[in-house]
Amino acid sequence: MKIFHFLLALPFLFNSCIGDDVVDDFVPPAVRITAPLDTLGVGKTWQFEAKFTNNIGAEEARPVAWSSSNLAVLGIDGTGLATGLSKGSAIVAAEVELGDGTTVKSERPVTVADSTVIPPVVMTLGGEIKSTSSYALKGSFEITESGSGILISIGSDYQASTALPGLYVYLGNNRSSIANAKELQQVAVFNGAHSYQVDGVGLNDYQYLLYWCKPFNVKVGEGEIK
């Protein structure tokens, strides 16, 4: 009878409960000016914009304090609307309070001249995809504005291991987590050039191209967007 009870108890004795895996996903909070301008005309205005990402890389709405280093040259109001006042140079700053008495700031030099110079429509960012695991993953990439979003063009030197289960590609601001990243799609090309059209995303919205084994929540590789 004791053996019978032991047999009955076996499945319940050894079938475990779900535990916790803690990941170190801290990233320094940051603010980025996302509507840059190099030259503003005297008497003209420009609406600057900024995005704040918190200590896990998630975008968060926070009050932004705008300032100009030379108010005689460039004035700016609390919404980031700048006005060219006279020829010269100034630095535009966007600053966000973190709540513990510290702040994060992003600065951008602006020249005030005769006329406004809009940044080139076609601006290219890019980088190198590198493996952060034992699985093969490498290649170059470029990102350009395209339609209502961006086009990520992966180079012909791209290679990825086909042994990976469920390899996905993301855009993110935290290289240690995809919790707040934008999932693009499951990787279907493992060798050679290909591209991803991502609508509703700006060139400066994300800092990393991330490759993740989604079923096992494991980072496989990354490319810093520069």
């Binding site: 499945p11 050894f14 079938n15 475990s16 409960c17 996903d25 801290f26 086909t162 499951q186 494991v218």
Partner: protein, 292 residues
């Protein structure tokens, strides 16, 4: 075995653990049998990659409560069943170390597991060298795509057939009874999975008035890498993956409580692997020997 493949892995890691007083080149005599209720489990936060190195993964666990049975229909033919009647696979929560929030909630699935049905034929009987051939059918009764990401599995989703040849012999060293067994098998896998070559060698010793049997096993799987399973459908690195390979050492010890009843415990450690969990698997069980 999908980052370790089901029928092969499960068969090797689970079923072969049941070999105390069963398996090898010796079929059960007519009317005799061996029945074992086992618990087998592995919990792993790392796996062997396709290059043979070890990478981390979210902690996952697989637990099988199973019945293993061998029964002699004749002196040459034995039927074999491995039936995991309760199989559980789970994945841990992923928690932010910064905020304490749950980033990805853990999941679990429960089901019956992939089941093996086999028939063993004794090529030689009552000879110093016991030869047997075993044909095993791996029935995909488990789940191969559980959880929101499809990574929780209690089976690999493919029907496989394995032909295995065993050669065993018994001998004595002093007062200790020993046996050794060598096997090799071909596992034909379907549904895009690669076929496999399986092999193993074990030595067992019975002592303390036949109370204790200690077994040491070395087992391996070599993939032919001839499957065409697309990587989009490959969602495992556990024990159900495709193109899994490994070499393992799996000792087991059995204690005969009576002539018919006994208990056993074993551990399996993979010291070379590709696309399989890189953590030890454990098993405990109670067995019953049906004799005349």
């Amino acid at each position: 075995m999908k980052i370790a493949n089901r029928a092969v892995s499960v068969f090797t890691l689970l079923l072969v653990y049941n070999a105390a007083f069963a398996g090898g080149g010796w079929p059960q005599p007519k009317g005799w049998g061996f029945f074992k209720l086992s618990q087998w489990w592995v919990v792993s936060d790392q796996h062997f990659t396709d290059s043979g190195r070890i990478d981390p993964n979210t902690t996952m666990g697989i637990f099988n409560s199973s019945l293993y049975a061998e029964y002699g229909f004749t002196n040459r033919f034995s039927g074999i069943l491995y039936f995991p009647f309760f199989s559980r696979a789970y994945m841990n929560n992923t928690i932010s170390g910064t905020t304490g929030e749950t980033l990805i909630p853990g999941e679990a699935i429960n089901s019956i597991g992939d089941t093996d049905l086999g028939i063993k034929y004794g090529i030689t009987l009552n000879k110093p060298l016991a030869l047997a051939a075993t044909l095993t059918f791996g029935l995909p009764l488990g789940k191969d795509n559980g959880g929101s990401a499809g990574s929780l599995q209690t089976g690999d989703g493919e029907f496989n057939q394995m032909l295995q040849l065993d050669a065993g012999t018994g001998f004595k060293l002093g007062n200790v009874n020993l046996y050794s067994n060598l096997y090799a098998g071909f596992n034909n896998r379907t549904n895009g999975f690669s076929d496999e070559f399986r092999f193993g060698f074990e030595v067992g010793a019975t002592f303390l008035k036949n109370r204790i049997t200690a077994i040491a096993r070395i087992q391996g799987i070599q993939s032919f890498k001839n499957g065409d399973l697309p990587s989009e459908r490959s969602n495992s690195t556990s024990i159900f993956a495709n193109n899994t390979e490994y070499l393992s050492f799996a000792p087991e010890i059995a204690y005969n409580i009576t002539e018919k009843w006994g208990v056993s415990a074993g551990v399996g450690t993979v010291f070379y692997g590709r696309i399989i969990f890189a953590s030890p698997a454990y098993s405990v069980g109670v067995y019953y020997k049906l004799t005349k």
